[in-house]
Point group: C2
Amino acid sequence: MTVAMRAGPSQDEIRRQNLGALLRYVHVRGATTRAELTTALGLNRSTIGALTADLAGAGLVSEGTPKETGRAGRPSLVVRPESARVYAYAYSIEVDRLRAARVGLGGEVLDRRELERPRNLVAGDAAPLLADAVREMHRAVPPDSICVGAGVAVCGMVRREDGLVRLSPTTGWVDEPIGAALAAELGVDVPITVGNVADVAAFAEHARGVAAGCDNVIYLYGDVGVGAGIIAGGRRLTGHGGYSGEVGHMVVVRDGVLCDCGRRGCWETEIGEHGLLRAAGRSDARGREALLALFDAADRGDARAQTAVRQAGDWLGFGVANLVNIFNPEMVIFGGTMRDLYLAAAAQVRSRLNSNGLPACLEHVRLRTPKLGDDAALIGAAELAFERLLADPLDVG
Amino acid sequence: MTVAMRAGPSQDEIRRQNLGALLRYVHVRGATTRAELTTALGLNRSTIGALTADLAGAGLVSEGTPKETGRAGRPSLVVRPESARVYAYAYSIEVDRLRAARVGLGGEVLDRRELERPRNLVAGDAAPLLADAVREMHRAVPPDSICVGAGVAVCGMVRREDGLVRLSPTTGWVDEPIGAALAAELGVDVPITVGNVADVAAFAEHARGVAAGCDNVIYLYGDVGVGAGIIAGGRRLTGHGGYSGEVGHMVVVRDGVLCDCGRRGCWETEIGEHGLLRAAGRSDARGREALLALFDAADRGDARAQTAVRQAGDWLGFGVANLVNIFNPEMVIFGGTMRDLYLAAAAQVRSRLNSNGLPACLEHVRLRTPKLGDDAALIGAAELAFERLLADPLDVG
C-alpha cells in the first residue's frame, strides 16, 4: 500500500530510474545493442543514446561495434558493462571457510581468495583475515578502476537496518557488527552491506542463475544449519527485521531432537549435518568432508549410510512440501549441503513432496540445483553492493 | 528484478499514477484537505488542484469546505471520496453462509444481505442465490451511481490468472468458475474478481484495519479449514498460481489425523473445527454454533472442553511459531474461528509461540484480532474491485 500511494516520480527520479534500468540490463545480460535496449526499456533512440553517454562518461559502460554478425547493413552499437574496471568486493563467511572475491560489474568473479575457517573462530578474528585477503587482491587492481562497495554473506540472522549479525548458531556469533569490523580493519569508507548467505545466493540465482525470469523462488541452503532465501512476486522477502527464511527452525517433530538453537525437533535436526551424521552412526564426525564421505558411502552401497540418506531425503521432501504449500513457488533450488542431499536422495524427496504437497501448488514447481554453484554466495554478496550503484548510477561512479 | 528493470514512466503513466495515488489516499483515509494531500503526495498545489478537478469531473470525489475547525484563516478545501455514489459489489462464500454487500468508495458497507448456506451447496446453486441478493440491493441504488465492479471472497484455492476456484475442500468445490457464473447470472459485464477469503481479509485489514501501516503481516483465517493471507514487504503474497498461504496444510504431525485434503497431520486437523470438536468428544457436532458452544463450555469450566481448547491453543501457537520463523512478520491477526480460539487460549498460544519462536523473529511481533471483524471478507472483496479503479481512475468512472 505504501508504495502504491506514492505519487508519480519527478523528472530527476525518472532520469535516475532510466540510468539504473539501462545499467541493470547490461549488468544482468551483458553486452547489448542499442536497438535491443530501445525495445527492452521502451525508450526512444535518442534517450538511450543520452543515457549511454552519461553512463560512459562515468566510466560504467563502454560502447563499440559488435562482433561480426554476418548480417548486412550498419550494425547497432553495442553497450558493454565496464566489467574489468567497475567492481565490488564480496565476502563469504561460512562454517568451514572464509572467502573473499573481487566481482566485476556484470557478475564475473575477477579474483578470489579462500581460507580455511576453524569452527568457532570469533568475529573479531575473522575480519583481519578477510581484510588481509582483500589487501592482497587490491594490489593487482588496475589504477583507473572504480570500487562501488562491498557485500558480505554470512551464515546467520542479519538485521536488515544495519547488517548486525544477530545470531549465527553454527559459528557461535551473537550481535556481531561484521560490516563495521571489516570497514575498520580496511580503513576504508566504502559502504559494506551484510546479508544472510541463503538470501544473497537466492538473489544471485534469481538475477543471473537458474531462477532468472522466475518470480517465486525458494533457495534452500544447508551447511550445519538450513535456511532459505525467498523471492516472492519478483522481490526478495526480508521480513520485518530481515530475519525471514529461517525454515530450518520450522519444527517438524514435536519434542524431537535438540537443535543448536535450543529448541527441539527443528527441521535442520533431521536434514542438517549433525542429523545426517547421527542417523548414519557417525555422530563423532564433523564438517563437509564427513558429509561427503557419508554420501559417498551410500553411493557405494553402505546400508546404514543409505538408510540415513534416504530418511533425510524423505524429511527434505517433507519440509519442502510445507514450504510449497505456504509459498506456491515455481522453483525450489537446493544449495550447499542441500544440493548433495537432494542429488543423493532425489527419489525420496520427490515422493514425499508429491504425497504432502497440494496438487495446485505442485503443478508448476520445478526442483533445481544452483547454476552458479558455490559462487552464488560471492556473486550475491557483490550484488548487494551493485544494488546501491544501480539505484543511482551517477552518484556512485 | 522485473519491476526494477523497467524504464521510467511516460507522462501519461505519471498522470495515471498521480490520479490513482490521490484517489487511493482519500479512499483509505477519508476526507482530506488539499494541504495534507500536497504534503502527503509530494506534489505542488496546482497539480493537486488539477488532479482533484479531473477526479471530481469523473464523479469520483467531491470538494467542499471542511467542518468548523475553530482555527482562523481561510480553510484548505477538503477532498472527499464519493462514497454514496461510487461503489463495488462484494460477495463472500463461506462454509455456513453466503453474503453480499454494496461497498462504497472509502470502504463503507452501504447495504448487505446474508443467507444461510447449506454445507455442500454446489457452486451452480450458490450463484443464483447471490445474484438474487444483489438484484434486490440494486433496486435501492440512487440512479446517478457508478458501479466499478465486483469482488468475491471464497474459502478455497483461487487461480490468480482467472479466478477459477481450484479446490475448496470445505465446500467440496473443484474447478468452479464462480466469477463467470455470477456474471452470467447477473447478465452484466462488470469485471468480477475472485480471491481467497484469507487473502482479501488480509488486504482489507492492511488497507484500513488493524494492520494499517504494517508491511509484514500474517492474517490467519479459520473455519473448517485454516488459511493465511500474507502481506510481505507491503505487498500481497500470491505465489506463482495464486495459491500461497495454504498454511493449514503445513504438516505438523507426521502420520497424524486424516485431513479433508486427503493427507495426514495437517495443521488444520489440530486447530480447525473438526479437530477441536473431536478433541472435546463432540465429533458428531458441526458448524460455527457447535464451536461457539464448545468455547462457551470451556469458559464455564467444563474440564473436557477446557482441555480441548488448551491443546488446540498450544497447536495454534506451534504453527504460528513456524510461520513467524519463516516470515518474520510484525503482526499476526487471528480471524474467523482462529479469533475465537486465540481469545479462548491466548496463554497457551503465547507460551508455545515464545518457546518455539526464534528470539529475533519474536521481538517485534504483535498478536491481534481483526479490527474489521467479519466484514473484512466483504470489504476485502470490494477492494479487489476498487484496485482496478485505483490503477486507472478515469478509465473506469
